[in-house]
């Protein structure tokens, strides 16, 4: 998204100010993913904190040649959330299943802010759904195509087409964004 090279090298030198700035820049995006996956604010907050703690502690493992900082952070957050959900499901199964269902429903009812926004909304519903499943729900391609009840090949092409359309919208959006920044300056 932005040129974070200096910030990240400061982070690797255990500069708390760098961590603070990176948190401000990336935490909302990461939190958006976590909370849509686990659907529980309290746990999502803990996982977010834990994610950034890992970013702080393992910053030396991040290699900019292999991808953006966001990608690295996203994968840490996704793994942590999936681990939590697996543990949580095990716990829930020994208790009353309806509790979990109620919880899930209540959060989707109240969670208007969890409704997907932006260019994603301009996609066709099945493209939107496909991206949502793999990206915001943390499902693998295999799990997601079963969930949507379409063949894996079709599902993969949904994702590809969705991303292609997104790219077009983003290119436009970025132009507008750059103009906006120029105007503000």
């Amino acid at each position: 998204m932005q040129n974070d090279t200096a910030l990240i090298s400061n982070l690797k030198n255990k500069d708390e100010a760098a961590l603070s700035q990176l948190y401000d820049a990336y935490a909302p995006a990461i939190y958006g993913v976590i909370i849509r996956m686990c659907k529980d604010e309290q746990h999502a907050q803990n996982i977010l904190q834990d994610t950034f703690l890992t970013i702080w502690e393992k910053s030396h493992q991040y290699n900019p040649d292999k991808g953006k900082f966001y990608t690295w952070a996203y994968r840490i957050a996704k793994n942590k959330t999936l681990n939590f959900l697996r543990k949580d499901k095990k716990l829930i199964q020994t208790e009353d299943l309806s509790v979990y269902k109620d919880k899930e429903e209540s959060i989707t009812d109240n969670g208007d802010y969890l409704q997907l926004k932006g260019c994603l909304k301009q996609l066709e519903p099945h493209h939107q759904r496909a991206l949502e499943l793999v990206y915001f729900n943390g499902l693998t391609h295999r799990e997601a195509h079963e969930e949507m009840d379409v063949p894996l090949g079709s599902f993969k092409s949904y994702i590809k087409q969705a991303l292609k359309k997104l790219k077009l919208s983003y290119d436009k959006a970025i132009v507008w964004f750059l103009i906006l920044i120029e105007v503000i300056r």
């Binding site: 708390e16 401000d24 958006g32 966001y70 996704k78 260019c119």
Partner: protein, 257 residues
């Protein structure tokens, strides 16, 4: 895995979503480094994913950041070894004060021991002194008792030797017991002599003076040698330690038995 396969099967997407195995990740990374077109594709998809997240961002509560920054601060300051050193210092101080108390205690006890030892020594000295005195007294008592036996005996005869012109104040009481063959004299009333002279007692047997002994200066009662068939008792003044023959010119008293 080749380029066509990657593009066909959405491998880049799966890579970005973290769905690939470690093995597949490595081979894709290798291909990306070689193929610019693939790399460009990768960057496009990555950017789209990122934009997707930023568009759907949700602001977390401020406490999360506060907690994060606190825990990070905590982890950094934990390195400071103060809390580790403190207990050690405390133990050291405790050990030092215990040692100091023990040292002072030992010094005090040592001085007490010395004092007690000295007192014990004094008591022992006094004890042996008393024992000596007691022995002396016992001896005195024995001799006095022995003397008293003789003095009280019915067979004992008392003779009084009065001083002549040489020593008019002299008066010696002598007790003679012929049965027990003993002579005791009381010399309380003999005038004191200088250190160079002693009184000496003699018995006259057939005109010859036999030595009965030197009269010692330390006690009032004194046992002398008993001489058989003595006709008289005589006392002379002799040079210190006594003589073999009496100095008749210095005879101060005599009595006939």
């Amino acid at each position: 895995m080749d380029k066509a396969y990657i593009l066909e099967n959405g491998i880049i997407e799966q890579y970005l979503l973290g769905e690939l195995s470690a093995e597949d990740e490595l081979s894709l990374e290798r291909l990306l480094a070689e193929d610019e077109e693939l790399m460009a594709r990768f960057k496009t998809i990555e950017a789209s994913f990122e934009s997707l997240a930023f568009e759907n961002a949700v602001n977390p509560p401020k406490q999360v950041k506060e907690r994060l920054m606190n825990s990070v601060k905590g982890s950094e300051t934990k390195v400071v070894s103060l809390p580790k050193q403190n207990p050690f210092k405390n133990y050291l101080a405790m050990a030092a004060s215990v040692a100091a108390v023990l040292l002072i205690g030992s010094i005090w006890m040592y001085s007490q021991l010395n004092k007690t030892n000295k007192q014990l020594q004094i008591v022992e000295e006094q004890n042996s002194q008393l024992l000596e005195d007691l022995n002396g007294l016992k001896g005195n008592l024995e001799t006095t008792t022995a003397y008293l036996d003789i003095l009280n005996s019915a067979e004992t005869k008392q003779y009084i030797l009065k001083g002549n012109a040489l020593s008019p104040e002299a008066k010696v009481v002598s007790y003679v017991n012929h049965k027990q063959k003993s002579v005791i004299v009381n010399t309380v009333d003999l005038p004191k002599l200088d250190n160079a002279h002693n009184y000496q007692m003699w018995a006259d047997v057939d005109g010859e003076m036999i030595n009965m002994g030197v009269i010692k200066k330390d006690g009032p009662l004194l046992a002398m040698n008993y001489i058989e068939d003595a006709a008289s008792l005589n006392i002379t003044i002799e040079p210190a330690g006594g003589s073999d023959h009496p100095t008749v010119s210095r005879l101060i008293t005599n009595v006939y038995l």
